[in-house]
């Protein structure tokens, strides 16, 4: 029993070593604050540990599975803390640089694929990246986004669709 448990604690440690950085970065983007990001990241990995994670091996990578758990935990935490107003939410965050001290030397920017990744979102027209960011990182529904930006719901639907289509196209072009 002890051996098995020890082995699995190591398995979780390996999982954290591989994906902890991406998890923390996403949590930081969602929570906008280091302490909250640490809490969300820890909660996500503890929940994976406690209940036995199961990811969709055919469809996505372990990383996207971990990140989906982080996103859900983060959005849950935001909603718990909520009575958020639209003014609290910094929708430009995706495109902003973080303080230099927090950057890693092996920043994803260094490899080509990562450049494509960042480029794909950064190159979107602002209204499209804003709509996608508010939904994915802010946890707002399309209706909430339409209300806060005071534009018709159909416009928001269109911006999300165009944004995803453009990112998809630029991925193809990059390859």
């Amino acid at each position: 029993m002890t051996l098995v448990e020890g082995g699995e604690a190591r398995a979780l440690e390996v999982l954290y070593d591989r994906h902890g950085g991406a998890a923390y970065s996403l949590a930081h983007r969602i929570m906008g604050d280091r302490q909250a990001a640490e809490d969300v990241t820890q909660e996500a990995f503890v929940s994976i540990w406690r209940s036995g994670g199961r990811y969709d091996a055919m469809r996505g990578s372990v990383r996207s599975w971990v990140l989906a758990i982080v996103r859900n935990r983060g959005i849950d935490a935001l909603r718990r803390a909520s009575s958020r107003s639209s003014l609290d939410y910094d929708d430009d965050g995706a495109l902003e640089a973080q303080p230099a001290e927090e950057r890693t030397d092996s920043s994803v920017l260094r490899n080509e694929r990562a450049r494509v990744v960042r480029g794909a979102m950064a190159e979107l027209p602002r209204d499209q990246s804003q709509a996608l960011g508010l939904a994915y990182f802010g946890g707002f529904t399309h209706r909430e986004i339409a209300d806060m930006l005071d534009v018709p719901l159909g416009t928001i639907k269109g911006r999300m669709r165009l944004g995803l289509e453009k990112m998809r196209t630029s991925m193809d072009e990059a390859i």
Binding site: A11, D17, G21, V46, M58, R103, T141, I156, K157, M171
Partner: protein
């Protein structure tokens, strides 16, 4: 509404669905449409890599080293608590019935991995499916750790009835959603075997949220399965089970067979 109208109405929401921007009613309705619309499924599949770029597009930060230490401590403490909790419950002898129930559950939770995977006829599987089974083995490895040394814990378990929907037909399925010390799992028996190349998948649906994919599972030879639900569940949350293509899906593609509301 004819099929084409229905498609064009729902197709407008496809991107919002993909980034989790539909409310829970819309998500269910969209998933229902998705179940019988090849075109929407195809588009969703095509856009999936773009959706995965979103979390990858954020500035990459190095987590503070203290976070890893705290995480490992939390896990060690978790193991401690479970072991000493079990010992305490055993000695104090409180709530015999609860304790027995807890012990039964932990036995279920400790079913060896190979038993859980019995439903996979591994040698007959195409390579891709075999790889998925191995990946499942890795993931389930976290689930099958002994959580309390066999003595049960002081936290009573909660049992939520599971309803078989019309889509389950006349299958004499029996199922329960159980919380043991805050960890949820689904006990299923007498579910018909999924079709060839198909699996079952659990989902969590919360008010105001998109449907979250949960555990993909297959049945043992006797038609039973013990399925860990990794998400934390609150009152009013729903757990659904659908049949999906091998490997599971990002969103339900068939009507739910089982449903439980916490």
């Amino acid at each position: 509404m004819n099929v084409a109208d229905e498609h064009s109405r729902w197709n407008e929401d496809l991107a919002a669905f993909a980034v989790g921007a539909l409310d829970s009613e819309e998500t269910v309705a969209f998933a229902d449409h998705l179940a019988h619309c090849d075109q929407c499924r195809g588009e969703l599949h095509r856009l999936a890599p773009a959706v995965e770029l979103l979390p990858a597009s954020v500035e990459q930060l190095a987590p503070p080293p203290a976070l890893k230490s705290r995480l490992l401590e939390a896990i060690a403490a978790d193991q401690e608590t479970n072991v000493s909790g079990a010992a305490a419950a055993g000695q104090a002898g409180v709530g015999g019935r609860v304790r027995r129930a807890g012990a039964a559950t932990s036995r279920a939770a400790r079913v060896p991995l190979r038993e859980r995977l019995r439903g996979w006829h591994v040698p007959a599987l195409p390579a891709a499916l075999a790889a998925a089974a191995l990946a499942a083995a890795f993931a389930i490895g976290f689930a099958v750790r002994g959580d309390d040394g066999g003595g049960g814990t002081a936290v009573p378990r909660t049992t939520v009835p599971v309803v078989a929907t019309a889509a389950a037909g006349r299958a004499p399925v029996r199922a329960q959603l159980i919380s043991d010390a805050g960890n949820w799992h689904l006990d299923v028996t007498r579910l018909p075997r999924a079709g060839f190349g198909r699996v079952y998948q659990a989902w969590v649906m919360r008010r105001g949220r998109d449907v979250e994919p949960s555990t993909v599972f297959v049945l043992a030879r006797d038609g039973s399965s013990t399925v860990a639900i990794p998400q934390s569940l609150a009152q009013g949350d729903q757990v659904l089970v659908t049949e999906e293509p091998a490997g599971g899906s990002a969103a339900p593609t068939t009507r739910p067979l089982l449903s439980a509301t916490v």
